[in-house]
């Protein structure tokens, strides 16, 4: 009898992924459970590793913009923006003010689309399929704006060294404002469903706790950190035109999955507000400057991606190929959070908690 009891609490290792219905991307977690309670987690990566950092040997620094855009399709514009900021700093190029505002507009559109996508996937992870469909329906409006203004739905490819490739006309800006009004209205309609519903609260409140002290110690970034009450947003650095716009980082103090969801929901509304400000303040003028010469030196640039702080380290030696390009993506920094969030939780909460850090594996592995 005693033996039988002991047997029931033996440890079992359960593989989670790489192909799993709730995961849009292949990541592998080795989860050790005792009964149904998680004790240990070991992540395994490498299913999406392509080796993009090495492509600097073949492609020159202008062509690399197209490569870094494809580090991650969801936030492609922001990757390219971070990269061209670095090159511009090395080559001492002053970008025209209109280009800075256009970058803000497109990057915030990307943030809205990424957060809406995540809110949908998150709802799907606890089986709330109709909310998933609703959020993705709203998201199509953003993709329409992207397609109408740049020619592609997802990888917009507007950044060039020295500015942007495309301009927005007055009509387009008016149309964007109209669409944003609709998006705001449709999103706020879903607020009570997402945050006041009994079943959603049951699945998210108190799950995957990450106290703020531990979050800072583990180097967590982005909405995951802000949901633990730390007001840190790389947009406060004031890159592009953010220093002329008015905003406060969104924070929540619950430290759980519900708070992370809430932060991203509020950031959608914040981004809508930022685009409105940018459109009202945008100056007239050139959208790019002619670029001559080649970059030399080393530089670190940081921007805020939908998932958190994105860091590019660029080392150039004056030739057309760069010496070293290092991309530190936010999910790479957020994976250690799983070591704190998962142990002690039920096995059935794994999909919700893993999704709550918004894992982007193709970013992480490049």
């Amino acid at each position: 009898m005693q033996e039988a009891i002991q047997k029931t609490v033996q440890r079992t290792t359960i593989p989670f992924g790489p192909q799993h219905p709730v995961l849009p991307e292949p990541v592998h977690l080795k989860i050790t459970v005792e009964d149904e309670i998680i004790k240990e987690v070991v992540p395994a990566l490498g299913f999406v590793h392509r080796g993009l950092e090495k492509l600097i040997d073949i492609r020159d620094f202008h062509q690399m913009i197209q490569v870094v855009e494809r580090v991650c399709g969801i936030c492609s514009m922001i990757h390219a923006m971070c990269y061209v900021h670095g090159i511009e700093e090395l080559m001492k190029i002053e970008v025209p003010p209109r280009a800075k505002y256009l970058r803000v507009i497109w990057s915030e559109l990307h943030r809205i689309h990424s957060h809406l996508l995540w809110l949908g996937l998150f709802a799907d992870s606890f089986g709330f399929e109709s909310v998933f469909m609703q959020f993705w329906r709203i998201r199509e409006k953003i993709l329409n704006i992207d397609e109408a203004t740049t020619g592609n739905r997802i990888i917009v490819s507007v950044n060039v060294v020295g500015g942007v490739r495309k301009d927005l006309s007055q009509d387009q800006m008016r149309w964007i404002l109209d669409e944003l009004d609709q998006i705001e209205q449709m999103t706020t309609q879903l607020e009570s469903t997402l945050f006041e519903d009994y079943t959603v609260k049951k699945r998210t409140i108190g799950k995957g706790l990450l106290p703020s002290r531990q979050a800072v110690e583990l180097g967590i970034v982005g909405p995951t950190l802000r949901a633990s009450g730390v007001a840190q947003d790389m947009r406060q650095l004031g890159y592009a035109a953010f220093k002329e716009l008015d905003f406060e980082p969104v924070t929540e103090n619950n430290c759980d999955c519900w708070a992370r969801c809430r932060v991203r929901y509020r950031e959608v509304l914040q981004s809508i507000d930022l685009i409105r400000q940018a459109i009202s303040k945008i100056p007239a003028g050139e959208i790019n400057v002619k670029v001559k010469g080649r970059p030399q030196g080393e530089v670190i640039t940081r921007v805020e991606q939908p998932r958190g702080e994105l860091l590019y380290y660029i080392k150039a030696n004056g030739s057309k190929n760069l010496d070293r390009l290092r991309i530190r993506t936010p999910t790479f920094a957020n994976i250690p959070a799983l070591f704190t969030m998962l142990p002690g939780m039920w096995l059935s909460d794994v999909p919700v908690i893993v999704l709550s850090i918004d894992p982007c594996i193709s970013c992480t592995e490049r």
């Binding site: 593989p15 790489p18 192909q19 592998h28 080795k30 070991v42 395994a44 990566l45 490498g46 590793h49 080796g51 950092e53 090495k54 040997d57 700093e89 090395l90 800072v216 110690e217 583990l218 180097g219 790389m234 406060q236 650095l237 030196g297 080393e298 530089v299 670190i300 702080e309 860091l311 380290y313 080392k315 010496d323 070293r324 290092r326 530190r328 790479f332 920094a333 994976i335 250690p336 070591f339 592995e365």
Partner: protein, 134 residues
Amino acid sequence: MLENVVSVSPDTLAGEIAKTKYEGFRFVTMTCVELDADTAEVIYHFDRDFTLKNFRLKAAKNADIPSISHIFMAAFLAENEIQDMFHLKFKGLIIDFNRTLYFDDNAQTAPLCRYTVSQIKSPEPESIQNSGDV
């Protein structure tokens, strides 16, 4: 053009990093740059209130580098990545994938090295291996 750069040696590394942690810095990441056939440079980036602090460590490729993952747990992924890509060896890593983070077969080539790599004899791979479980 990096701001706040401090040069460290393998002996003073752990002390400096611990001091940085005490001062309230957040670990951002580590970057490895190959300098020539024998030496590589590891740059540690830390952040406090939107200011970066960087430590530069020049290391011979075939020498062990002390790991900082017991001070900043978050460093283990970055250190494992550098092990995979540059064939450096970090001593005292808390979770050591033994060059199987991105590649199978214990990564015989160092993909981000331009120069030839001096092969180091590595111990047997640990139980952390990736299977194709579904």
